[in-house]
């Protein structure tokens, strides 16, 4: 039942404020089903309720229905809370496996209906009671509900109260009166949607509650038709919801909208693609008037639409037979319906556009003299230009349907440097005869090109929303030479790159004289000492006067030590340790030398 209802909602369509702009397409339903699917792992009772009720609305078979049923039954055992009972019994109802009411659960439910309970608790209790088939005392419930509303009169609380009221038998006017209170709290979005703060679940809850309550009490709900349309618009705008709870509420409210006694919003949409072209000339739609948006030319007025025999609720109108110019058209559609429940069906505005193909003709490109090129060929020769020349391009864009030259929204010339892929885009402009012209003065456009010489490719981009063959056409290659430009001399930028490695160059040591030279001079330097020793030997030098005294021996050892100390100083000692050693050796040597010399002097005197 629900499935059929949903398709009826998809009657026709629109983008105006007064008519729902879309409906649940089969693709949408498939996606909603996917959101519900995880529930079948049977881990969470609430998810199972959302999924089973959602599947029911979507007209889907529930996989493993018996297993799900057992799961639901087992969770509603003894000691279950009222909320669990509500979830289980509602899920059981949706699944078609009624939960048997046990004594303890009946007791729990009746105890929950007391004064002081919140309206949500009451809703759970009352729904559970209805599902379990427990008789309710209408007066008592009403009293409790009034108490709850006195305590908390938020939209959410009201929404629950409506659902409570809808399930009661007898006079529920006191709750029905509150519908208006809730509806006035709705916020308008963009002038075409109405919602309650809190989003989809609250909006859906209140709406379904209000309509159900209105049905129970057999009175038209205080919701104006255009409000109903706006609520429906909001619900449809939320069809991409990703939570199973949201899906549940959405489907609940949508099926309520398609299946109530008061308001059934009608969606008027284009059944075919939004664009109409010669290949698919039939707009399958209902029509009142069709006006071209650009110049307000009316091409159709008061035209009846023919119902299509192959599909219900689809009507068609042949627009192309009237030879419309390309462009956007506004179509005003009305539906005369005998069913007074339908809302949002008069003066619905639709936009469609008429596409035509275009042809690029009379293309001339060149510097001094022009060459002809035919679409879609590329000029075989490379154009050459330097700073004294201009590059010119002329072409005509012709509408193939009317054969007249036409203007398009996008007529750009894209010039791309082949090596660096840098692109520069110019706009081609029309003259009075609708001939597109584009020229660049090479010397004046150095800035655009950055002064980079090289081969550029010239491409023409022709595009418009109302042509069926937008084009990117490579016309020719152009070799540009700018004066004084060698290579792009921009400073190297290493911001996000590896920098070049740097190796330190060590200073090379100074050149030194050859070892032959130094050896020769070393020998020359030692030579005097050798000569001295040789001559002394020849002269018969002796040290026979050496006095055999301690002081003399010590003096000469000391002297040798001082000289050795100098050698050590050269090789390894530092100055201060040298001085320390020198002091020690020196003092000893000094006194020994002194005594030795005085001895020698005394000896000489003798």
């Amino acid at each position: 039942m629900s499935r059929a209802a949903l398709v009826i909602l998809a009657l026709l369509g629109v983008s105006s404020a007064l008519s729902p702009s879309t409906y649940l397409t089969p693709g949408d339903k498939e996606r909603l089903k996917l959101v519900l699917d995880p529930a079948w792992s049977l881990s969470d009772l609430a998810q199972v309720l959302y999924a089973s009720a959602g599947y029911k609305h979507l007209g889907q078979e529930i996989p493993n229905a018996e297993g799900v049923c057992n799961f639901v039954k087992s969770s509603a055992g003894d000691g279950a809370t009222v909320e669990t009972l509500f979830l289980a019994s509602s899920a059981g109802k949706a699944l078609g496996c009624p939960i048997a009411a046990s004594v303890s659960s009946i007791q729990a439910v009746s105890e929950a209906i007391r004064e002081g309970a919140s309206s949500q608790e009451l809703f759970h209790a009352v729904s559970a009671a209805t599902n379990l088939g427990v008789e309710l005392d209408t007066a008592k419930v009403l009293r409790a509900t009034q108490m709850a509303l006195k305590k908390d009169d938020s939209v959410l609380s009201l929404g629950y109260a409506f659902h409570v009221g809808a399930q009661l038998k007898g006079e529920v006017g006191s709750i029905f009166e509150r519908i208006e209170d809730a509806i006035v709290q709705a916020d308008e979005v963009d002038g075409r949607m109405l919602q309650f703060e809190g989003g989809l679940s609250i909006t859906a809850l209140v709406l379904s509650g209000a309509y159900k309550l209105a049905e129970t009490s057999n009175k038209t709900p205080p919701i104006k038709p255009d409000q109903a349309v706006k609520f429906a618009n909001y619900l449809m705008s939320r069809k991409s919801v990703q939570l199973s709870k949201g899906v549940y509420y959405l489907l609940e409210a949508v099926s309520m909208f398609t299946n109530n006694k008061f308001h059934v919003p009608v969606a008027i949409t284009l059944a075919s693609n939004v664009a109409v072209s010669a290949e698919a000339p039939q707009v399958q739609v209902t029509a009142d008037s069709a006006t071209r948006v650009a110049d307000e030319v009316v091409i159709i007025s008061k035209e009846p639409l023919t119902p299509l025999s192959t599909a219900d609720g689809v009507y068609e109108l042949d627009v192309m037979s009237r030879g419309p110019d390309r462009g956007f058209y506004r179509l005003v559609v009305s539906v005369d319906a005998s069913d007074s429940r339908l809302v949002g069906h008069s003066a619905a505005q639709l936009t469609f556009k008429v596409l035509t193909a275009i042809d690029i003709q009379g293309v001339e490109i060149g510097t001094a003299d022009s060459d002809q090129v035919r679409y879609p060929n590329t000029l075989s020769a490379v154009l050459v230009a330097d700073q004294h020349q201009r590059v010119m391009l002329r072409f005509v864009v012709r509408d193939t349907a009317s054969g007249r030259p036409t203007e398009v929204h996008q007529a750009f010339v894209k010039i791309t440097h082949i090596d660096s892929k840098r692109e520069i885009i110019f706009v081609a402009e029309t003259d009075s005869n609708d001939i597109y012209k584009f020229d660049i003065d090479v010397s004046n456009s150095m800035k655009e090109f950055g002064g980079v010489s090289g081969v550029y490719s010239i491409e023409l981009i022709i595009g418009d929303a109302s042509i069926s063959n937008p084009t990117l056409w490579h016309i020719a290659d152009l070799s540009l030479t700018f004066p004084g430009s060698i290579a792009p001399s921009s400073p190297q930028d290493f911001t996000y790159k590896v920098r070049p490695e740097i190796k330190h160059v060590f200073r090379s040591p100074d050149p030194r004289p050859s070892s032959v030279m130094s050896t020769t001079f070393t020998l020359l330097c030692i030579l005097p000492l050798l000569l001295l020793v040789l001559i002394w030997v020849k002269l018969g030098v002796n040290i026979s006067n050496f006095p055999i005294t301690v002081t003399a021996v010590v003096f000469h050892i000391g002297l040798a030590g001082i000289l050795a100390l100098f050698c050590l100083f050269w090789v390894q000692l530092d100055m201060f340790s040298t001085l320390r050693y020198l002091l020690m050796v020196g003092i000893v040597t000094f006194f020994c030398g002194n005594s030795m010399l005085s001895n020698i002097a005394a000896k000489r005197k003798e």
Binding site: Q242, H409, K414, V427, P470, R499, H504, W536, N542, F566
Partner: protein
């Protein structure tokens, strides 16, 4: 606690453990403020917001004109991340303003801003502060060659080819051939500003203009010079992403299929993956590097010397880690460089990594003494800027460290030593020579 019987202790311990885990989670998580025009955005962008929550963000969604808005309390930022999905906001509520948001970025906060065709001046002003300019009001990105089949007729629902995405897996995830859906305004940036990154470039055939007006002036943004999504990584590593399209992040676009005029059909648009990767990047869950330790010493030693001497062989090691799924892991790369700098770099070398994320290199200290720095500066698209300097001094040879004997100086050494030997011998002979007897006789 310990005096209690263990049986009663364990639930308390469990509780403490649970509290600890919760604290830990909130300590690791980020506080993210999401500003919206209407709370309906919470539902139209639920996939995006849910993915933030799943990644550990504490998401608070508020209306952009909520009078209680504030980013900082007592001088400390309450939020690390700010998402502005409110193109229509005329004035921010509470303590929020363009200036405070810029201060927030200066303080290291991350911002994601989405605009639209009709974005308010406030949003335009905000994005100008980060080096991005939105095209004028009413202008939409149009591409007659790359639009989606669900377009409303004006070719403003762009199916941008994924080739326009920046080449950085860190920022936009692995490359994929699926086009991205985009409807909104074009962004213009200064190509010479290296901090602004072109996350998604428009196709060559796109332009930004009011679709209902014919082109009389040159469009502000055309072709690949126009960006659809731009990003800024400031010098303090704060990240900002600007998109000209609010719907780019929406559930509708993420779940939509794409059909191009050329006939290619894709089951799902590429938006989902890119939005996920980009939001991970902008909130610094991806592409974050840190220096763990720096070591330097002479080759073959362990400890650094007080000062290096010129021409010594020195070894430098740096350990770098990268944040992967909230855990610091060793970073691997073949292009990390170290510089040895004394005002100018004297040496710049690429370091070799090992599997622990330790990069090392050995080089000879230059023969110029002075105060040097080991400097590692790693700046790559998508990664935070890695910067580390260690100062060391380099001194010349001490006097004992020069060559002791030079061959060409042998004559000098020889003369000095021969002089010393001579003095010793001469003093012996002079003092103790005994005249031969015949000479004495001759006298």
């Amino acid at each position: 606690m310990s005096t209690q019987p263990s049986g009663r202790d364990s639930p308390a311990r469990m509780l403490r453990l649970a509290v600890f885990v919760v604290c830990l989670a909130s300590a690791l998580g980020f506080n993210t403020l999401v500003l919206v025009d209407t709370l309906a955005t919470r539902e139209t962008h639920s996939i995006f917001l849910k993915s933030l929550q799943e990644r550990g963000h504490e998401v608070s969604v508020k209306a952009a004109d909520d009078p209680s808005l504030q980013l900082s309390r007592y001088g400390e930022y309450i939020y690390q991340n700010l998402v502005i999905l409110a193109p229509g906001v005329e004035e921010f509520g509470g303590a929020l303003s363009v200036e405070t948001i810029v201060e927030f970025v200066d303080g290291g906060g991350n911002v994601l801003v989405a605009g639209s065709r009709d974005a308010a001046d406030l949003i335009r002003e905000l994005v100008t502060e980060v080096g991005v300019e939105m095209d004028e009001e009413g202008a939409a990105v149009i591409d007659h060659l790359h639009y989606d089949a669900n377009d409303d007729g004006q070719h403003t629902l762009i199916a941008a080819p994924s080739s326009g995405l920046i080449e950085s897996e860190v920022m936009v995830g692995p490359r994929d051939a699926v086009p991205l859906l985009y409807r909104g305004t074009g962004l213009i940036t200064d190509a010479d500003n290296p901090l602004v990154l072109p996350v998604l470039r428009a196709p060559s055939t796109a332009y930004c203009y009011n679709p209902t007006q014919s082109i009389s002036d040159y469009p502000h943004a055309t072709g690949q010079n126009m960006l659809l999504v731009a990003a800024l990584q400031a010098r303090n590593n704060a990240r900002v992403v600007v998109s000209g399209s609010l719907e780019f992040f929406s559930d509708a676009f993420i779940m939509a299929s794409v059909q191009t005029p050329q006939g290619a059909f894709y089951e799902r648009s590429g938006n989902g993956k890119v939005v996920e990767a980009l939001s991970q990047w902008v909130f610094k869950e991806e592409g974050v590097l840190r220096v763990v330790s720096v070591q330097h010493h002479l080759q073959g030693e362990k400890e650094p010397p007080v000062a290096y001497t010129i021409k010594q062989d020195v070894e430098y090691k740096i350990k770098v880690e990268r944040l992967v799924d909230g855990v610091w892991k060793p970073f691997m790369s073949n292009d990390l460089q170290v510089e040895f700098v004394r005002i100018d770099p004297f040496i710049r070398l690429i370091m070799t990594p090992n599997k622990d994320g330790v990069f090392s290199v050995t080089f000879k200290v230059p023969d110029v003494y002075g105060v040097y720095q080991f400097k590692v500066e790693y700046n790559r698209v998508g990664f935070t800027r890695l910067f580390s300097t260690t100062q060391v001094s380099v001194r010349p040879f001490t006097h004992v460290e020069y060559e002791r004997f030079i061959e060409c100086a042998y004559p000098y050494y020889a003369s000095a030593f021969s002089m010393m030997v001579g003095v010793f011998l001469f003093s012996m002979v002079f003092l103790h020579h005994k005249e031969s007897p015949h000479k004495t006789k001759a006298e």
